[in-house]
Subunit: 240 residues, 2 copies
Amino acid sequence: MSKKKSFFDNNLYADSQPHLMFTAVDCIIFGFDGDDLKLLIMKRKMEPLRGEWSLIGSIIRLEETVEEAATRILNEATGLSDLYLEQSKVYSEVDRDLGYRCMSVAMYTLIRSDKFHLVSEQNQYDSHWHGLEDLPNLVLDHKRMVLDAMVKLRSKVKYHPIGFELLPEKFTIPQLQKLYEVILDEELDSRNFRKKMLSLGILQQLSEKDKSGSKKGAYLYQFNHEAYHKLVSSGFNFGV
Amino acid sequence: MSKKKSFFDNNLYADSQPHLMFTAVDCIIFGFDGDDLKLLIMKRKMEPLRGEWSLIGSIIRLEETVEEAATRILNEATGLSDLYLEQSKVYSEVDRDLGYRCMSVAMYTLIRSDKFHLVSEQNQYDSHWHGLEDLPNLVLDHKRMVLDAMVKLRSKVKYHPIGFELLPEKFTIPQLQKLYEVILDEELDSRNFRKKMLSLGILQQLSEKDKSGSKKGAYLYQFNHEAYHKLVSSGFNFGV
DNA sequence: ACAAAAGTGTTATTAGTACACCCATGC
DNA sequence: GCATGGGTGTACTAATAACACTTTTGT
């Protein structure tokens, strides 16, 4: 201990004794199954609160950033990598965890609907998709984290094209509209929605049709990243 | 050490050895002097990097939240309390600090222009106001923190009435316009600006005038909190 | 033939933008 | 009386909101 003590002399940390303060990351994992927004949660396997529903999270290791920690546990819990990842908020109430001090960085992430059913529900976390409407109680302040992340997702989706992160590479306009409707929790007029989306010039129509939703079939589109970047760099603000 | 070891057995933290990871808070302190946006920074007094320009920050103590830590150092550095405070972002690059692991929660805060000159520049931090245009180099990743916070301030000010946090209780429309102009870094048309602001019905005109800016004098207004809350709860989105 | 979802246009309303002159006052 | 910043109105344009029918095709 005396070796460590010298570390704290004569520098910025001189008045901070070494203490047990952990920092964790908790992931709010949104997924879209084509009809509803879902959340990937798990039954906590460790004490305390074993068996209670919980977000998927981890203590941040000494050698990783918040984003790397989130990427690690997302990969462990879903098998996926390269997920869209966004900081939501830091939760640091002194007594938010049980018995020791642990602050948590909440991150939210989006799972594409074509990967939705590929997310293994039998991994080390024993994770499960749950509808956002009838979410069970979650441990600690995790319910609050979900609600806060939901608000951020709602406002972000209006001005940034992150909705596309929840859809497969190729998608139809009705699918896109359904997604916006469940995120924003309001019905949208299909004519105005289509007009607005197409007018932005960031969707590329393909010749293929998707017939899973109707007899007639709906044209597939692709999100055009270059057109989008041109749009934002010319000062435009994507909006629904 | 063996006493501590038992703490880590049989719980969520079992695979996390006790390690030296600090969490700090750094404050991006914006102030408005009536003409320009300024930032309150200090010359670092401790090693390493003594004498370099730095944001005002501190290690978070075991008994305080991020917000409480920020409030504490803001009070130490400005003498003010009850400041508008907002989380900006967590910075957690493994090597962002020198020699040890320290992640930092960046918070931004707004100082009202009538308090601007009251902020003591001879406190334990030896803080100074600096124009945002010709900001000197700052230690570590603090420059990045400022730029990120500036982006957040810009987008926030368009849809939330936080601009009023930078003005005194009573202010004139030209003062408000000037503030928006320096935050958004663009000139605004005074007729359209006035029309838009007054149409929201959240400004209350007083009979007094402020003659500091002109011979004629400009009417003073007050921000009407109740009217604002009525507006947002009726689904409206404040915007400039 | 019919059910079910995809696709299409027009009009009305509202919000935003551009723009130029008179007013009140202190000096 | 003039310089300085404060205050006002109107016309044009763009965006948004409301609204109903036809098309395609599998069954």
